[in-house]
């Protein structure tokens, strides 16, 4: 204590002895020092605000207007009221839930199954790199390859016929579930690895002693996985699923390139609906209202999932 007081006294005494000009200088430099961290992160923050907060606020603002090119007519909640009774909007919402839900569920199950077999494997580094690859391709380029495979080039149709699973050609755009499954398969291929890599990392970083304890308690590997490992990595699963879920809700590229919503709007996702309202019918206020609704729904859903996962992980 005595030592502390002494040094504190010395530090306090020093500025008094300094001359006024030096004092002012020192004060300014300490202000700079305090501001320095903020200056460092400022570019990133401004950038982020510029690409998220500003457009977001703009969309909310715009959603209360009827926008005809340069003419903005305030309409209050009309856009939202119209959305409520727009069957195309509800259809798009349903499509997104169906396509996204099935894709997300399959991706989770497949990624988790693969992670279960891979995370104790000696070759796990190799697996990680192999699985990373689909994510490295540009989504639109991949979409064009799928377009070739499913639709234009009929590669998949031909393959299925060769192995005798079907007789004629499959028209992947002509059938609701075939069209939806092309979107699901395309998403699966590119994004299952994302979940796989996160799940493997989570499984590898769990306390190994706990797994060993379960082993000695007589549990088989599947039993350990189910009873011990999975519950332990639950928060990580939740976060990964939310991230992937948000991504899937905004599914656009594949829809735009592969199906364009056909047949009969059964593959039109919310993002494509918004795009169509905005950039095909130039109904920007209406598109903005749909985007705002989606934003709110997504935030609420994500909050719910994450909160539940973290709460039951504790105490």
């Amino acid at each position: 204590m005595a030592v502390l007081d002494q040094t504190g006294g010395v530090a306090r005494a020093a500025p008094d002895r300094a001359r006024p000009r030096e004092k002012a200088l020192r004060r300014r430099s300490s202000a700079l020092r305090r501001a320095f961290p903020y200056l460092l992160v400022a570019p990133a923050v401004i950038y982020l605000l510029g690409i998220t907060l500003y457009p977001g606020a703009y969309a909310i603002y715009q959603s209360f207007y009827l926008v005809r090119f340069t003419e903005w007519i305030p309409v209050g909640f009309d856009n939202y009221v119209e959305l409520w009774s727009d069957s195309e909007f509800w259809q798009a919402l349903l499509n997104t839930l169906i396509i996204g839900g099935i894709a997300l569920a399959l991706e989770c199950v497949i990624a988790m199954a693969l992670a279960f077999f891979a995370y104790r494997d000696a070759l796990i580094r190799v697996w990680r790199i192999v699985f990373l690859m689909p994510m490295l391709f540009m989504p639109s380029a991949v979409a064009f390859v799928w377009k070739l495979a499913f639709n234009d080039g009929r590669v998949i149709s031909d393959l299925l016929r060769k192995i005798g699973l079907i007789d004629g050609n499959l028209d992947f755009l002509g059938n609701v579930w075939l069209a939806r499954s092309t979107l699901i398969v395309a998403d699966l291929w590119q994004w299952t690895p994302f979940l796989f890599i996160i799940f493997v990392a989570a499984l590898q970083s769990q306390d190994q002693e706990v797994e060993e304890a379960a082993r000695l308690d007589g549990a088989s590997w599947p039993a350990i996985f189910w009873n011990v490992s999975l519950p332990m990595i639950r928060p990580v699963i939740a976060v990964a699923v939310v991230l992937r879920g948000i991504d899937i809700t905004t599914m656009f590229t594949n829809v735009f390139i592969l199906t364009k919503g056909t047949p009969g709007g059964t593959t039109e996702t919310i993002s494509y609906f918004i795009y169509r309202q905005g950039f095909q019918t130039f109904n920007f206020g209406y598109a903005s209202a749909a985007a705002v609704v989606m934003l709110v729904v997504t935030i609420l859903a994500a909050q719910l999932v994450v909160k539940r996962a973290f709460r039951s992980g504790k105490a």
Binding site: V210, E212, A214, D217, A219, N227, P231, K314, A315
Partner: protein, 357 residues
């Protein structure tokens, strides 16, 4: 309920040998303690018994059966880990139930077994809690309960008390020993704490750098150490070891002259425990030195002397007080002086100098 044998067991990690040529025979119902400094291969040895680590060479035998090829889950071995390794998502009740569930013990029998195990470690009131809501000592006991609940053949404990505070450690020590005697399960216990080893063990195995230095009862290890490593490791404060020369039945070192067996000569290390020394005011004495430090512990007073280059510790009377630098003379208990080869550290026993101690 099982005898454990390690036959010529070796464990290598790449070019590094963690355990070399270990031969060990652990009797049924014995409480065996593996004692040694950190990194000497205790955990590795235990993990090989558990089946969590495969020996590079040699055989592990449990209950007369070579178990090298038997999976950990089929060895009927229970282990208490240093970090407890409780299942964080399960209540204490579920934690204790897990081994029963995994081994297909009927639901109707489970509850009684769980409650009995929890009672044994006095955890009956905490069964609904998650491990995160328990103190270190309670978690420790929960881990014990989970290990004992299915009455395993073998009980393994890896430094189970090292995360507890000193007071809790001594009370848990008593509980563990009581539990082991009650259940009569062959137990291997790993620790680097010699007090734990001395108080718990039927027999102690002292290891250093992957090699067994001595196996014996606590009494044997204490009063009949095989080499300077064991001598220096056991006892708190440890045995004084003074390097010197032996000639014609006399051992000499700076400030120290002692009688030694006539057939011992050359560069010798003398060992004597602090508690086998006596401060004398006059008359003949083996050692003369100056007081370097005084440490009263309440129960007794430890006196550190400086003789020549070495510091020498002596247990003095409880109320003994000395001035720093004061000259002091020390007498050794002639029955309890040990001589070691300085070069190899090996104990030299010229004659049966130790009659009944």
């Amino acid at each position: 309920m099982a005898r454990i044998e390690l036959r010529n067991v070796v464990k290598r990690y790449g070019s590094f040998t963690g355990v070399r040529r270990m031969d060990l025979d652990i009797a049924d119902e014995e409480f065996l303690v593996l004692l040694g400094p950190s990194g000497c291969g205790k955990t590795t040895t235990m993990r090989m018994i558990a089946g969590l680590e495969e020996p590079s060479e040699g055989e592990v035998v449990i209950g007369g059966e070579v178990v090298n090829e038997v999976d950990a889950r089929d060895r009927d071995v229970a282990m208490v880990f240093q970090g407890y390794a409780l299942y964080p998502n399960m209540s204490i009740y579920e934690n204790i139930r897990f081994p029963l569930r995994m081994r297909g013990i009927g639901k109707s029998d489970q509850d009684a077994l769980i409650r009995r195990a929890a009672e044994m470690v006095e955890l009956g009131d905490f069964l609904d809690r998650k491990p995160g809501a328990l103190s270190g000592g309670q978690r420790q006991r929960a881990a014990l309960a989970r290990a004992v609940v299915r009455q395993p053949q073998v009980f393994l404990m890896d430094e189970p008390l090292s995360n507890l505070d000193a007071k809790l450690r001594s009370s848990m020590r008593v509980q563990i020993k009581h539990l082991q005697r009650q259940l009569r399960i062959t137990t291997v216990y790993v620790t680097h704490d010699q007090i734990e080893a001395m108080t718990l063990a039927d027999r102690i195995v002292i290891m250093e750098k992957g090699v067994i230095r001595q196996i014996g009862t606590p009494d044997e290890i204490y009063s009949d150490p095989a080499d300077t490593f064991v001598a220096g490791f056991i006892g708190a404060p440890p045995m004084n070891l003074v390097e010197g020369k032996a000639e014609n039945g006399r051992f000499t070192a700076p400030g120290l002259v002692a009688a030694c067996p006539p057939d011992i000569s050359g560069r010798i290390t003398l060992g004597v425990r602090p508690e086998d020394c006596r401060v004398v005011t006059d008359g003949p004495a083996e050692l003369a030195g100056a007081v370097y430090g005084v440490e009263p512990t309440g129960e007794t007073t430890y006196l550190t002397l400086r003789t020549g280059e070495t510091l020498f510790e002596v247990k003095a009377a409880r109320d003994a007080r000395f001035d720093l630098g004061a000259p002091v003379k020390i007498c050794f208990d002639p029955e309890r002086i040990y001589f070691f080869d300085t070069e190899t550290g090996v104990r030299l026993r010229a004659q049966p100098q130790r009659s009944a101690a």
